[in-house]
Every structure is written in C-alpha cells, then in structure tokens.
Amino acid sequence: MTSAISILDRISLLLAWLSGLIAFFVMAVTFTGVVMRYGLRKPLMGGFEMIEIGMGLIVFTALPLMIRHRGNISVTILTDRFPVKLRQITGLVSDLVGGTLMGFIAWRVWLQGERLLTYNEVTMELRVPKGLIAQSMAVLLVFAALAFFLCALEAFRRDPADKTTAAGDI
C-alpha cells in the first residue's frame, strides 16, 4: 500500500518536472519566434501550434502533483475554525468528489479523443492528430483522479489545515 503510494507520488513528481520542461519550451518558442520575426523577418514555422499543444500538456502534467500538494484554490476561513474531526471529514468528502470527477472527466475526454480520431481532425500546421493529444490528457487525468484518492486515503492521518506547500496560495 505505502509503496504503491510512493510510486504514484514519484510519478506525479516526474510528470511535474515534465510540465516544467514544457513550460520552459513554451518560453523558448515564444522568445525564438520574436527573435526570428524581428531579426530575420521570418516566422518560426508551427510556433503558434507548439505553444497551443504545450499549454494543454503543461496543465494536465502538473495536475497530479498540484492535487497531491493540496494546491487547489480553496477557502479555509470557516474550516479553520472547524474541530479537527469535522475538518477531516469535509476534507475526505472533497477529495472523494474531486477524484470521482477527475475520473469521470478522464473517461469523457478519452471518448472525445476517439471521436476526433475517427474524424481525422488534426492541428492545422503540424497536422498532429488532435485525438492523440486529447487521449494523452485523458491518461494524465487518470493520474489526477488517483492523486485525489490518495489524498482521501490520508484524510484521517493528517490535518488538512496544514499544507505541505502552497501552490494554490499563489
């Protein structure tokens, strides 16, 4: 059980590093595009689309770790005054609802991916099948669902009021 948890957490971390790498890539593509257009009077072919695809992947690769770090934006002024037991119960409910929703969305996004594949929809310039992008998002959403369920498992072992990191507190 604990080893399964630590494996999933390691996957979440790896995915977040990948997400960071994509963010760096988006930054580099934007900068290069400007330099090429202004300096060489030539556009970076496919730059627009690389950024679009990159954006979709940044969000979903970072989602599992964000959830594990309890980085979701939430309002805690009332729950901070709850007794610990009540706070743990509301936390458990939130995590279960979150996990179920993420799983449900993963399933629907996967099916939308199938639909896009049957229609041969591709991105305009690089002609990447949109269905494949959608289905990668669906797989990543499964990890997001698992991340929520892991948080639910730990609901009574920790006090949800203390956050390990503060991603959601931007």
Partner: protein, 326 residues
C-alpha cells in the same frame, strides 16, 4: 397553438453580420412561414470557442449551430474545396457553389454525420490591408510582415513572398498599430469590425478572391428529426440557396459599410494588376495539389468535386457583364 423553441448556438457578437444579416433574417423568415409555431432563440454568449461548435452541436448543446469548416482541419475536407485560392470571386458565387457542391457530394462522403446541414456560405473577398507601405505588385510583398488568421493563409503569404505572422484577432489591432505586422488580410468588413480602420493607409484588392473560409449552418440530427414535415418544409424553403443569397447581401453590405469608414479616412485603394494575379494563381497551385492528395487519401473523387465547384462558381458569379452585345 404550441410553440417549439430551438436554441441557436452563436459565438459571434449579436451585431456581427453573420448573426444580424444571415441568421436573424433566416430565423425570422421561418418563424413567419410556420405562423410562429417554430421559434429560434439565438444565444448571446458562446458555449465554446469556434472549433468546438460542431461537436457542441452533435452533443445537442444547441439545436442549430454554425461554424467555420477550416477550424476543424482534416474533418471537412470535401467542403473545404471552396477554401482553395481564387475559388470564390464574390460572396454570392462562393456561397452558392459551396452549397451546391455539398448537395451533390455531401451525403456520399458523410463528413457532417450526426448533423443536418441546411446551408453553407463563404465570406467576401479579403484584401491586403497595409498600415505602412503599399502593395502595387506582388514584388512589394517581399519582406513585409502580414498578420494572418490561420496557417492556410499563412502558407499563401509565404508562397507569395511575404512573412506571415499568425495572431489571434484580439491582438490584430495592436499588432497593426504597433508595427508587429505591416499588413493584414481581411475583408473590409472585418477591418472595421475589429477596429483596425484607423491604422490602415492603403488597401490592395486581389480580383478573383485570394482565399475564403466556408461556413456551415446545421441542425442537430435529432433536433431535425423531431420537426414535423411542415416545419421541415418551412426550414428548407428558406435555407440552402436562400442562405447563400443572404450571405451575398450580408457580406457585401458589411464591406460597403467598412469601406465607407475607410474612404472617410482617405485610405488608398489599389487593385493588383492582371499579370500579378495570374502569377499569384500560379504560385498558389501547390495548395490545390495538396488538397487533391488529401481528398484521394480519404477516398474522394477530388477532381470531380473541384470541377463541379468551379462550374457552379462560374454559373453564379455576380460580375457578369450584361446588356452588352458579344
């Protein structure tokens, strides 16, 4: 009397010509025709970005929708025959030909399955609108940065020697006024609609219609099947070629309005010389070859579709000289 209300999904502001000049009169005509038993409610805010519209329609988020075929690259290959360079010389011919081509080949190729298409139309001729500098010949395009909306127009501009920059319309005005782009491809209607008029100094017309987008108007199949025979007849009476006709008027009127504003500002209008137009046609041939390859990849008779569309354009073009002894 029982009133059936159909929801029309819309992603453009209510005063845009597609809404006020095509959808609203079309809906009103059908409401009159059915004596008010069929009503249309055009939504004022969008449920998703333009490329999402067809899937939203399939999921019956609304009963009637419209969208741009080219926004779902690879999906509406047959319809996009009209998007090839120099296919649509004016919005009447382009709209009529796109609808007639769909009528002939649409059912066979089934690109719109799950929806019942009632109309297809194209927009008016785009011009090259320059903030700085003027385009008198193709050679003048060399080294100019031109804002384009999508990669097909981007490719055309590259083939013609310009340097395309793909930007969303929300950044078009800044891009033009700040000099990120020297020029922009748009019909005169859109120049005014997006508030770019003040920065334009010259406009080059390209006879024959450099490029066009093909729009679809469709019912969700189940929403369509739920209509009575009488209601379907009423819709059909005012759809198809009637929508093409509305489109012709709407875009032409929109351009007239835009050009009034541009003229009031003293913008210079230039027409690309015939020899340059011919050269441009030649340079843009590769796009046609690519489309034929995509069509055959999907098992379509590309040559037949292209020829039929061209024939229909010739039959319906609006610039025929008449009362002239030939």
């Amino acid at each position: 009397q029982e009133v059936k209300t159909l929801r029309v999904g819309s992603w453009l502001p209510p005063h845009h010509l597609i809404v006020s000049g095509i959808l609203e009169p079309w809906a009103a005509a059908i409401e009159n025709e059915t004596g008010g038993s069929l009503k249309f409610e055009i939504m004022t805010s969008s449920l998703g970005p333009p490329p999402a519209q067809f899937d939203l329609l399939l999921d019956q988020a609304f009963d009637v929708g419209y969208g741009v075929s080219g926004h779902n690259a690879g999906r509406f290959t047959m319809t996009q025959v009209m998007d090839l360079p120099f296919m649509s010389p004016d919005p009447w011919a382009g709209s009529a030909a796109s609808w007639l081509t769909y009528q002939k080949f649409g059912a066979e190729y089934g690109e719109h399955d799950g929806a019942h298409v009632v109309g297809l139309f194209t927009h008016s001729n785009p011009n090259i609108n320059m903030a700085k500098g003027r385009i008198e010949t193709l050679a003048d395009l060399e080294g100019k940065t031109i804002r384009v909306g999508g990669n097909v127009t981007g490719r055309m501009m590259s083939e013609l020697g310009a340097s395309p920059v793909q930007l969303p319309p929300t950044e078009a005005q800044t891009a033009m006024s700040r000099g990120v782009a020297d020029g922009i491809t748009f019909p005169s209607e859109s120049i005014d609609f997006f508030g770019i008029t003040p920065v334009i100094s010259s406009i080059t017309r390209i006879p024959g219609g450099l490029y066009t987008d093909t729009f679809w108007v469709a019912f969700n199949q189940d929403s369509w099947d739920a209509l009575s025979d009488g209601e379907r007849a009423a819709v059909e009476k005012h759809s198809g070629m009637a929508i093409a006709m509305l489109s012709g008027f709407a875009w032409t009127n929109g351009d007239t309005y835009g050009e009034e504003k541009l003229n009031a500002q003293g913008v210079e209008f230039i027409t690309l010389p015939e020899a340059d137009v011919a050269a441009a046609r030649e340079k843009l041939k590769p796009l046609e070859t690519d489309w034929l390859a995509q069509a055959s990849e999907r098992g379509y008779d590309g040559d037949a579709i292209l020829q039929y569309a061209r024939d229909m354009v010739e039959n319906y073009r609006s610039d025929k000289s008449v009362n002239v002894v030939k």
